[in-house]
């Protein structure tokens, strides 16, 4: 089976991998003495394919290379690998205008390798900006601020509770990690998931995004960075397909998601989990593992399926994400225009997908629970709710089919109970949706209306 990534995928396809395995084994003797070979080039294969001067990771640091079962460890030296990875991160940021100098960026940190690398890279970028700022004469370009947020989800996983002492230690570890990433200093926010109710913020299938967005909003941040990598997105693509969320899928997997009050950006979207794991190993970036929650149910099935596929062909995750990347994004999948610095590169990318908002189409409607854009098949009895009271029944009709099945209870009496427990913002979001449509309709016919009020008096 030929690798279909066309050579653009970073991890080698299985054919390359097999060849490299043999190389690695045959070169073990040479690698063992750890001396870099520059004289007689019998051991050419131990050299980085990029710079051709340093030893590959597999030769110099077999422990780290073992973390990534792909071919990268056998191809690159540590420096080239690191700069390659950082290059992908930086390219994502610049070509999508993710971070500008006036931004205050909140990094969501779960303790795992992906968000650890995101944090590290954002920090390095900030340091560089700080250096430039200090060195420049006119101090024209300020340095963006960075904060870190952690969401304590232990309340929703009662089955495998983390002993509280271990948990507190983990939090302390995280605080230490964050404080070591100074200067510039970064604030560390910890929020238990129950806070969703005390904040005027919504909830959703992706509660995490929602709550971190709330923290960001409350503390004056302007951008939210998630460490979602290719591997995680590949799982999300399949999980969404399996749950009937094919329409809204395109919204969740782009570099930018500006549906939320604070735009969410995914700068590690092109990086594989293996690469991020290997970097953490190489650079000894501390991760906090005790807080990882096992995935169960559909999500668990999907991630073990993807793992199986990835073992069979190491470029599978890339292919999945690339396929999903060909789906048409939504107009909110770009940084809104009012932000300063619309880079040329990002404009080019927007043109490719014709992301300019189309004035003649009505604005997207969103599911009040998971905030995903609704497709035609999700609309059931919209018009009934325009003027009427909001109730549990009408609320249910407004949700996407997937949430109706997964989240809402079937029995009407349970549905009433459920509705009474919903945070305020979800309800008001439903109302807003109505008003949004009404407003848009009104704008279309404004020039023919003789009266200013709704009922024509």
């Amino acid at each position: 089976m030929a690798c279909s990534s066309g050579g653009s995928c970073q991890s080698g396809c299985y054919k390359d991998y097999e060849e490299e395995e043999e190389d690695r084994h045959s070169q073990k003797k040479e690698a063992a003495n750890g001396v870099s070979t520059c004289g007689n080039d019998v051991n050419n294969r131990d050299l980085c394919v990029k710079c051709k001067s340093n030893e590959t990771i597999a030769a110099a640091n077999p422990g780290a290379a073992a973390v990534a079962s792909g071919g990268d460890g056998g191809r690159f030296c540590a420096d080239c690998f690191r700069s390659n990875l950082f290059g992908k991160f930086r390219f994502a940021i610049t070509s999508n205008a993710m971070i500008s100098s006036s931004d205050n960026v909140l990094v969501a940190f779960s303790g795992g390798t992906s968000s650890r690398v995101a944090l590290q890279f954002v920090h390095e970028m900030q340091c560089k900006a700080q250096k430039n700022f200090d060195a420049s004469r006119d101090r024209s370009l300020p340095v963006f601020g960075v904060g870190v947020a952690f969401v304590d989800e232990s309340a929703i996983y009662p089955v495998t509770p983390v002993p509280s002492r271990q948990f507190d230690e983990a939090i302390e570890d995280m605080k230490l990690i964050v404080s070591n990433l100074s200067p510039p200093r970064k604030k560390f926010h910890v929020a238990p998931i129950a806070n969703i109710y005390s904040l005027d913020s919504g909830d959703g299938n992706d509660r995490l995004k929602e709550l971190v967005n709330a923290i960001a909003l409350q503390n004056g941040y302007t951008k939210l960075v998630l460490g979602s990598c290719t591997s995680r997105i590949a799982c999300h693509v399949l999980a969404a397909a399996v749950k009937g969320q094919g329409y809204s899928l395109a919204a969740d997997i782009q570099y930018v998601d500006a549906r939320w009050e604070i735009p969410v950006v995914l700068p590690l979207r092109d990086c594989l989990k293996q690469e991020l794991d290997m970097l953490c190993c190489l650079d000894s970036l501390k991760v906090v593992k005790v807080l990882e929650n096992p995935r169960s149910g559909i999500n668990g099935l999907v991630s073990s399926f993807v793992k199986l596929l990835q073992e069979e062909n190491p470029s599978r995750e890339c292919t999945i994400v690339r396929t999903a990347g060909k789906l048409t994004p939504f107009h909110f999948n770009r940084i809104p225009d009012n932000d300063d610095g619309a880079h040329l590169a990002s404009q080019r990318r927007q043109k490719k997908f014709n992301l300019k908002s189309n004035e003649s189409l009505p604005p997207e409607s969103f599911c009040p629970i998971c905030n995903s854009p609704l497709s035609k098949s999700d609309f059931l009895s919209w018009n009934d709710v325009e003027n009427g009271q909001l109730s549990a029944e009408t609320f249910e009709a407004k949700c996407c089919l997937s949430c109706q099945f997964q989240i809402l209870p079937k029995e009407p009496s349970s549905m009433e109970d459920f509705y009474s427990f919903l945070p305020q913002l979800i309800i008001s979001r439903t109302k807003d949706g109505n008003h949004c449509n009404q407003r848009w309709l009104r704008e279309q016919i404004q020039d023919c209306l003789l009266s200013d009020s709704e009922d024509g008096t």
Partner: protein, 355 residues
């Protein structure tokens, strides 16, 4: 929330539809406990709704049913002739079968189709790879091994069905592809990066602008329910897997879907719904449709895939048309000159086709 987490629900006293008879089964699609009669009714009625809502047939049409002797095509033939009678579709139904030349598999299943011909009273036509292409699948596998044989068989079968349909002079071809098949195909296309196919694979009717339009009346019917129907109705079908198929990549998707169905039965329909709702730009580069220079069949390249593969077989180049190479379609002119007149198989054109 409806997840079936392995806990057995309480057995109901009465069928949840008619409330009169004792339930005999749990419906795979919905897990409702219903009696046999209601199962037949709801199964047949859902298919009737799909046919009507999607306007699959018109009165007076001649329709060929792709019949392999397996459960899907047998049940399709049975249900279609039943619904044709009951709801007066006004269709002229035929059975069309393809003989790939797989001993121990196809020859046995063909016997089943011949029995179906008698049991359902539908005229049967069989087209064979040997007659059309000069090769049986047994011979092909002997040459190329077990890795890409499904590609050969699939490409050849598609054309074979069109040829047979033309011989029968039918207006439409109905195949037994069920919901599980389509869900697998959606997943496969995501995994393999085929965005063009992804946009087409959930269509219930395909090839309207080609030689013979095809439709899939079982698009929303679960494979498990088809098996159940055939089992209870004691329909005669051949139930062995193709002996050459174990290595197909589709197997991954199939295993996954089986596990998924156990956890959440509606997931199969959800995958199909996702596939229908994917936002795929219509300006995505779609292949331009032309005709094959060698045989006149519809093709997006100079030679249709079947001709490319055949050329490979006849020249002992099993990878021709499989791997990405400079390949036949770019520089075939000098090759054709060389190979003309050498083998009688090659000079055997695929017959005049009134497509």
């Amino acid at each position: 929330m409806e997840e079936a987490q392995g806990v057995k629900p309480k057995k109901k006293a009465f069928c949840s539809i008619c409330n009169q008879r004792k339930p005999a089964l749990k419906r795979p699609k919905t897990l409702d406990q219903i009696c046999r009669e209601c199962f037949y009714a709801v199964f047949e009625d859902e298919i009737h709704r799909v046919i009507v809502d999607n306007q699959l047939f018109k009165p007076g049409e001649r329709v060929a049913i792709g019949a392999s002797g397996g459960k899907d095509s047998t049940v399709l033939a049975y249900v279609l002739s039943e619904l044709n009678r009951r709801h007066n579709y006004g269709l002229d139904l035929f059975l069309l079968s393809v003989d790939e030349g797989i001993t121990g598999y196809r020859d046995d299943s063909l016997e089943t189709v011949k029995r179906n011909e008698i049991q359902y009273g539908l005229p049967l036509k069989v087209v064979s790879y040997k007659d059309l292409y000069g090769w049986t699948m047994d011979e092909i596998v002997k040459l190329i091994g077990l890795k890409n044989n499904c590609t050969f068989c699939g490409v050849f079968r598609r054309q074979a069905l069109d040829r047979g349909a033309a011989l029968l002079k039918v207006d439409k071809l109905a195949t037994g592809h069920n919901a599980d098949d389509i869900a697998e195909t959606v997943l496969l296309n995501i995994l393999r990066g085929d965005i063009a196919r992804l946009s087409r694979c959930t269509s219930i009717t395909t090839g309207e602008d080609g030689p013979i339009p095809r439709c899939k009346p079982f698009k929303y019917t679960y494979e498990k329910e088809i098996v159940m129907y055939a089992y209870f109705k004691r329909l005669d079908y051949f139930s062995t897997e193709c002996i050459y198929s174990p290595n197909a990549y589709r197997g991954f998707a199939r295993e996954f879907i089986k596990d998924l169905e156990r956890m959440r039965p509606r997931a199969i329909l959800d995958i199909i719904r996702s596939g229908e709702n994917f936002r795929i730009s219509t300006s995505t580069k779609m292949p331009e449709q032309g005709t094959c220079e060698r045989c006149g069949y519809i093709s997006s390249q100079k030679w249709c895939k079947a001709c490319v593969l055949l050329e490979g077989l006849n020249r002992g180049l099993p990878k021709l048309g499989i791997n990405r190479s400079r390949g036949l379609n770019s520089d075939h002119t000098k090759d054709v000159k060389r190979s003309n007149g050498t083998k009688n198989i090659e000079s055997k054109q695929c017959g005049t086709l009134d497509f």
